[in-house]
Structures are given as C-alpha cells and as structure tokens.
Symmetry: C2
Subunit: 200 residues, 2 copies
Amino acid sequence: MQKTAVTQQPINELIAKRWSPRAFDASKPVSHEQIIALLEAARWAPSCFGDEPWRFIVWDKNADAKSWQQAFDCLAPSNQTWVKNAPILMLVCADSLFGHNQKENRWGQYDTGAAAENLCLQASSMGLVAHQMGGFNTDAAREAFKIPAQITPMAMLTVGYEGDANDLPDEIKTRELAPRKRKPLGEHFFTGTWGKPVKA
Amino acid sequence: MQKTAVTQQPINELIAKRWSPRAFDASKPVSHEQIIALLEAARWAPSCFGDEPWRFIVWDKNADAKSWQQAFDCLAPSNQTWVKNAPILMLVCADSLFGHNQKENRWGQYDTGAAAENLCLQASSMGLVAHQMGGFNTDAAREAFKIPAQITPMAMLTVGYEGDANDLPDEIKTRELAPRKRKPLGEHFFTGTWGKPVKA
C-alpha cells in the first residue's frame, strides 16, 4: 500500500514512501543477505565520536523459531496480534556509556534512533517493510537475552514483506488504512529562535 | 568527495553515500525551498505514539546573519574553525515529555535522532552535505534561544554545499581525507541473543 508523505517541497522518494505497516505476509521469508543489508544500513549511521552506540539483536523465525518466539513473548499483547506474521524481529538497544572511556554518552539513544531509521529506509528500498514498537517488556527482554546493565533496550521492530490489510483484526485494520499524518511544519520547526514557525 | 560505505551486501546508494564533511563552500547559499525539503524529510520520520518529539531551529546566514552568528557562538571553538563556511546552522532538540499527557517520553531522543538522520539523507539526495555536532554549549543555546526546560538540545548541524578540503586547517584536513570506518558487523549486531555475532 502506498502512503507517500504529503510535503510542501518534494523530498527523496525513499524517505517519502517509508511507513510502518502492521500487515505482514507470513509466507514470505527474508533472506540472510537481505538481513545483512539491513544491518549494514544501520551500521553506517553517523554517531558522536564515531562510537556506534547501537546494538541490534536479530531473530529470524525461519532460521530459529524458538528464539524468535522468546523475543515475541516480550512484546505487548496488542502488538503480538499483528507481529505474529512478521518473519524477522529485532531488538534495538543503546549503550549508555562511551566505548572509549566508559563515561556517560548522552547521544547514545539519539544515535541509535538514526541507525534504526537507516534500517527502516533500507527495508523500504528492498521492497520490505519495517515497523518499530515501544510496546514490549524491557525487563523480560533484558532477562531473556542477558542484556548488560549499561545497555538500554529502546525498541523492538519487525521486518518482512507487506501483507493484506484485510487479514488484520478490525481495529488494527482501521489504523492500517488511515492516512499518515504529521503536525503542521511550523509547530516543530522554527527559524531564528524557539517558537517562531518556519514558513513554507 | 565520494566516501561510499564498504558493506558486505549492497545497500541503498543514498545511505551508502551520506557522510559528514567539514569543508563547506561559503559562496553557495542553500535556498528556502531546499531548507523546507530538509525539514519535511525530518518531519516524516516515525515516532512513538506519533508524538513527533523533535524540534528544529534553523539559522540561514544569508537571510539573517545576526541570528546565525548567535547560533555559531554556541559552538565549541574546534567546530567553529570549519563551520564558519556553512550557510545553514540548525539546532536539533528533543522533547522529554509526551505532548498528549506531559509524561516522560523515553523515546524522545531516539525518535529525534531518526528525524535528524532523515534530514541528513535528504541533504545528500539534493547534492548538499550535512554534519552533526555534539560539541556546543547547551546552556548558552538554551539561554540565547529561550529553549524550555523540558526540551533537551541534542545536536547542532550544518548544511551546505561541499567545499574544497584543501582549504581546511591541516589537522581537520587530515580527518576529512581519512577513509570512513565502522566496527566489524558482528561487534554490535547479534543473532538470537546478546553478544552472539551475526555472520555476514
């Protein structure tokens, strides 16, 4: 389904077309080569001091169903209803400390968000879709996958081929078919000083 | 200058080619339409609960040199040596609270990093370059631009046309000409559980 962003100036097609579907096609696996391409896109994001504070754990249902299930079990039930059809699950984490001196890295989460966005855009560019979720049990994930204390689990995400929205439960289907929307540009984008809306 | 990422599987060209130069061409302004396109790319990033926690302030040297200078003055001296040639400066901020209930948004910085990455990729796609910096005085920026307490200044960034690396001071020129590098894939990307390297 195309949900191209409505913008006041044309933007790059890859960025305009990325969105976060919930309908996945359970019959189409994602290849190992595709997974590596997704991770490479994340890997080449920029980061403060080149620290690369992101960490990703990948679960491929077709390669290791048991581990995938363990990851799936960490998700909020509301997400599980649609994630069940997604062949790939990932957990995106941020290091809270710099690697070179183990001091606080205040850009750890910010840089990790950039890496995850690269991954989502890369998915789009390969004809896949990706969807990030905040709704998961971080303590359960930390316990199940032995995530160190200095690491913050930020998001879980799904990757796969887009499925048929008609297969979704009614409430989720309604959200799936709704138009994408954003606040007016001038609400969050300012010129010269705080709160002065940029004019398109 | 091309510094295409070296990857184990091909990735999208836009993501592969984005990098963060320090040499800017002071003679080439960025148009208002280009600025809007950059902000639109950021605006269409994904965010938790669709909160769009990012805030951007833009300074255009050619439209308002005085405000641009105020922003420039917030930068660390080591950045000022090369930023002086960049026509556009921005400050990227993250809301620490959700807009709909004013409760803590633990994804505020993560989502803001995604928006900034979209902007940097959009710059690349228009033949511009962007460079993010953590080295600036957040208190000075907060004071100068009246940034509310719940908002966290994350990064300043430059946008413009790439200049000639030979015009940079020696030490910066050396960094500019060095190859881009990243840690081996398996160091930060795991499969099945924490610490188990993904195999390319």
